[in-house]
Amino acid sequence: MELSEQIKTDISENPVIIYMKGTKEMPMCGFSNQVVQILNHYGIEYKDVNILENPEIRIKLSEQSGWPTIPQLFVKGKLIGGADIAMELHQKGELLDILDISENN
């Protein structure tokens, strides 16, 4: 599958997906780690994509999302934002609703 198609498929097929530097087990950047810690706090399932494994992913992803930096958090196919927005939504108590990926929502 072509890379840009792969990205679209991953974003649409994974209710919560983070593009990050490193993996959720071993984040390689403080901003990526911040989002991982927030997601782990809520105990939800999510997919991680390590953009360091293939820098092309970052280029294609940013073209598609209009978001220049990493990490990028997507929920239900929609860009939520990077580390600042994840933290801000968490602190405002709004992130749990956003992360509610149950069928009836």
């Binding site: 901003f31 220049p68 930096t69 934002g81 580390a83 927005i85």
Partner: protein, 82 residues
Amino acid sequence: MEPNELKALIEKGIPDAKVEVIDTTGTKDHFSAVVISKSFEELSLVEQHQSVYKAVGRFMTKEVHALQLKTYSPNKWAEQNS
């Protein structure tokens, strides 16, 4: 890039914006900015940040490696500080 240059870029892209920029690492490539603009009133948080990234344009991720953002409309800013 100097923090003042980054401030000028954001102010050019968002003319009514009040902007404060600090260099968070002392290396002139990691910054933290607070941006207040009336244009943010109708925008989601993602769109607010995207409009700042757009103002920084081609410098983003090159000269400006990381940019931590806090964006507010004037009303939200007033609430924040009340």
